[in-house]
Subunit: 151 residues, 3 copies
């Protein structure tokens, strides 16, 4: 079901991200899966580097947010045997690399939230935190982490 | 009890926030309620827009932190039938929109922490994270999220 | 075991941090211990104040990250009777006070991740979030918070 929907979107889960440092792509504790912060990486490169409100348009930020969310999902998928093990998305945090005068972080992260709801239906609805920051790893324009409830 | 104390403060829980994007005001998982990041909004407007260390005094930031915390509590209240269902506040994160040279984020967020302890007593004590960021949604000077333990 | 390893490193757990504001050094809820954000404080002073990419080298940032992680561990230790009560480190978030053009936050936080894995072995591996921010309390160059799973 989730796989079909991904196909309909023309979206493909990326290779399981190799963590940039000395940590796990995700850690399970009880019913929770804590997914490490993911950047919008495509073919080994950061897609849409730069700052919202400076080099990047909201549309570009949304593309990046979608890519980062897909990476989170690729990590989730690597920790389970079947999408049915996902009970719901609990919370998503989106950090947006922003110019000092950019204040539309929620619009950017909506792209990730829409994707989750499209893929998981009611179980894709989540709590959310959206903030701007001045600098992200690899000059990425966004970083997304999520907490997922597994069965 | 909590309602009485709010009245004594002359504070009123705002209308349940309409989420800015495509997400839930809060998500429950197990005993945890994850409240989405809340801005200091009053009568549909961001109160005290701007940066700490530039346009805003610490006192104004504290007023804003109190408003954002009240919005978190309004969300909590909308998820339960009675304040007695709140076991304790687990953790609060405060993001303060700061000038590069402003480093008193804890003083600002103390206003939220004091409110929680006043309202919930020992159950209002919480772990906390206080950081500055360069840009928040709607030019708000603070954003607060919390995790609450329910019975 | 953990104490021996700390000794081998020549590292000492600092005094239990006095919280800067009106909050707890850590809050337990279920199996989780949520540790409040910790700064790299040594002898009551912030060590390595300033920004990565401006005043500070990556090596200095790594020293600071190690100090902040040690403070997190001192808090954990104050909440348990024995290190054996630590099941695993669940997730670590590192906020790095960064110049706008600094994008090597993961390298800085690796120092904290390495320390955790050295001290706790497989149980020290964790999910992680690394972001830059423009301003931290007391002009600290990093702030680290963690979630720990207790037995």
């Amino acid at each position: 079901m989730v796989d079909n929907k991904l196909e309909q979107l023309g979206a493909k889960l990326p290779e399981i991200p190799t963590a940039l440092g000395l940590y796990l792509p995700a850690q399970r504790s009880g019913q929770f899966l804590f997914v490490s912060g993911q950047l919008p990486i495509e073919d080994g490169q950061v897609a849409y580097p730069g700052k919202l409100g400076r080099e990047l348009s909201i549309e570009q930020g949304q593309q990046a947010a979608r890519l980062a969310a897909l990476r989170c999902l690729a990590v989730v998928r690597s920790c389970i045997n079947d999408w049915d093990e996902v009970n719901k998305i609990v919370r998503l945090t989106g950090y947006i690399q922003s110019d000092d005068d950019f204040h539309d972080q929620p619009l950017v992260i909506n792209a990730a939230s829409e994707l989750l709801e499209y893929l998981f239906g009611a179980g894709g609805k989540h709590a959310r935190i959206a903030v701007g920051v001045n600098a992200l790893p690899m000059n990425a324009c966004c970083e997304i982490e999520m907490i997922v409830e597994l069965k």
